[in-house]
Symmetry: none
């Protein structure tokens, strides 16, 4: 495990517990561990979630050790009978379970601090595989354990997130940071308003010039694509500079779609743009029902550029709160270019905001007509002088339509502020 | 794969993509798949997350197939070069990649519907391993694929959650539901407004009478707790009756907190209550920024009991759109019982709704004072005659405060409609 032996340290995570397999909880521990190891240049090769049976744990350790130098386990360390990790480790390494005095002292200390007394179950919890070194758990009674065997390192931690994080931070990360010589550097370019395939085609030639140690990945979500560069190398500063250069090339090429870097939320980038331009924004929402406004407000400090919105779901509200003429609604229907334009003017007058976006559509599943099928959405964006409108024809799924439309609406505001229309 | 051969079907999930391993995204797909398979009596044995390299994918499939009859893969199917699943599958099963006309027709259809044209990359995406059956992806261009080999079943799906869910729902779950002999029956009691530990204590004695083949689990989220009974057995009808009896006992005991059964969304239960009572509802929102309204509108058919809302984030909007007296704001501050009460009256007048809820609070991280720390939220609920108010003192986390407050607000409407105040 010395630096010279292991230029590229490989790690795997084994999470133990049925609650993950049946989807009762989502495995956030592994994502956190992945982020931490990534920062110190250790690559996660696999994350394996297994049942908390003797067999499940044994197979998981085996599979992880087959592809990695470091096996990080979480879970199965509680005081109850369904917690089998200690037994499974003793079995796997063919050692005895021995009473660990240091752990017992630690547990007694924790309980006396809280003015509570221990039970037999806690004493039972102190029988650990004979080959472990104890990693003190500052946050609870379950032990952290380190085993070195056949040139590999095995760490077992509790599944309770704050206990796991405490053991990782206090013991495991410092230990591993000393062992890795390789740096991993990421740069993520955040884009909106264009699909993965078109973006990919536009940067084809840049991708072709990437050296073997830098990889490119596209991570799409509704209306947005994250483009991630990942580089590996011994010289962190050189790698960092190299990644920055490629990242900037890609960002320049895709400038129209780029709203930021490194996982900045879109709404935050939009907020910064509003502050930079010194404008306030607003929304008039029908089918999105306030979701666009709530996305704006999700960013701390949004009161500097946002003061309010009107959700006008019915014809009556479009008339009374947004001043949409009755005849316009009757003639064109609520889902029309004419009506969203009128909604936009109405909300600008009501709120005094500089720029707004108005949305009206048929989110589904009901309400479609041959002329205007489910998924027909009209948007209008602009100020009192200039307005742009857009029609979407999207899917049959209500939740997706609302979410996607909200992203499109906010991007219209961004493009309008950038003078892109 | 016939019923007689496989009383207990075992499945594993392989998720493909570095973004999970480096913790850039959290694997919610596997949790969802785990829940769905669990419902139809199929046990997940492992969830394995692997790198999107040829080696990573091959090892993942191998490990999954070693412990399971069914291997469900997600990810690595996009049109870009970093998507290697098709190539890896062809390599694993030692078959060629063939152009799939059905997929090409499907992709062209999707694009022409949206009035956009395909690129070469989309054509490239149509080369699939020769041994697959195509599973139509109603939500996108990436293919779902089914391979049967050596008595095992392999399914490959895109990693984009709504595309994966659509393929699972349309094709994979119906296929698998036919193959299992053991029934798993669930009954979930949906509660709101009380914590897990109190609920658990209230049904202690019922829990003690549960037979060994029926398990009880508490699944808390912000302001709500799902209480789930799970039974396993050969006689589905008998099991179903037994679970229903226990479920009803629990629901009767906890009646005050129960809003429905079996994962009905709270907003749907509230909508049904509005319809039953023949009332319309509205919201006046400050710190929640329209999130409460958007939750109401997330339910199809909500136009029958909802017509609009006002988001009044600034003092000015509270005055102009909600008629809150200027002096009241100056005297008590926007986050006060007096102001939320006035906001409620204002929105009832503006929208003509029967019942409303108004929310004003300090979501954080900034804006707190010694008197009104971050996490101080005032709510008012009622009609023009009767109103109730409530103050919350919650956490430091903006996102959590907004989400939790929205749930509390909607539950105030429910309790008001039920005459519980």
């Amino acid at each position: 495990m010395s630096k010279s032996e292991n230029q590229f340290m490989k790690a795997s995570i084994v999470t133990i517990g049925d609650e993950i397999l049946i989807g009762q909880i989502i495995d956030t521990n592994s994502a956190w561990i992945g982020q931490q190891l990534n920062k110190i240049g250790i690559e996660i090769h696999e994350i394996i979630s297994v049942k908390d049976t003797m067999d499940g744990i044994r197979i998981g350790i085996n599979q992880a050790a087959a592809v990695s130098d470091i096996v990080l386990m979480t879970g199965g360390l509680g005081p109850t009978k369904d917690d089998l990790t200690c037994e499974a480790l003793a079995d796997y390494f063919d050692v005895e379970l021995l009473f660990n005095e240091a752990l017992w002292t630690h547990i007694q200390g924790l309980f006396s601090q809280r003015g509570r007394s221990t039970t037999d179950l806690h004493k039972q919890q102190c029988y650990l595989p004979a080959n472990v070194a104890l990693l003190r758990n500052a946050m609870g009674t379950a032990p952290g354990m380190l085993i070195k065997s056949d040139g590999k390192m095995y760490v077992s931690m509790p599944g309770v997130p704050y206990e796991m994080k405490s053991i990782m931070t206090d013991h495991v990360l410092p230990l591993l940071a000393n062992q890795s010589d390789i740096s991993i550097v990421h740069k993520t370019i955040m884009t909106v308003g264009q699909g993965e395939s078109v973006l990919s085609k536009e940067i084809d030639d840049i991708e072709a010039t990437l050296p073997a140690h830098i990889k490119l990945a596209f991570l799409p979500s509704l209306g947005k694509v994250r483009i991630r560069l990942t580089g590996k190398g011994a010289d962190e500063q050189a790698l960092h500079d190299e990644i920055e250069t490629f990242g900037q090339q890609i960002a320049d090429r895709l400038a129209r779609y780029v709203y930021g870097f490194d996982d900045i939320p879109f709404e935050q980038a939009l907020g910064e743009l509003c502050l930079a331009k010194g404008v306030t924004i607003t929304t008039a929402e029908s089918c999105t029902g306030g979701l666009v406004a709530s996305k704006i407000v999700s960013i701390p400090g949004s009161s500097a550029y946002y003061s309010g919105s009107i959700v006008a779901y019915s014809y009556e509200m479009k008339e009374s709160l947004l001043f949409v003429p009755h005849d316009l609604l009757i003639e064109h229907g609520a889902v029309s270019e004419e009506v969203v334009s009128a909604m936009l003017l109405g909300v600008l007058k009501q709120t005094g905001a500089d720029v707004g976006v108005a949305i009206s559509g048929i989110a589904g599943p009901g309400g479609g007509t041959p002329d205007k099928p489910v998924g027909t959405i009209w948007l209008a964006c602009g100020n009192l002088k200039e307005q742009v409108t857009k029609r979407l024809l999207i899917s049959k799924d209500r939740r997706m339509n609302i979410e996607y439309t909200s992203n499109v609406a906010l991007n219209m505001v961004r493009e309008f502020l950038l003078g892109r229309y």
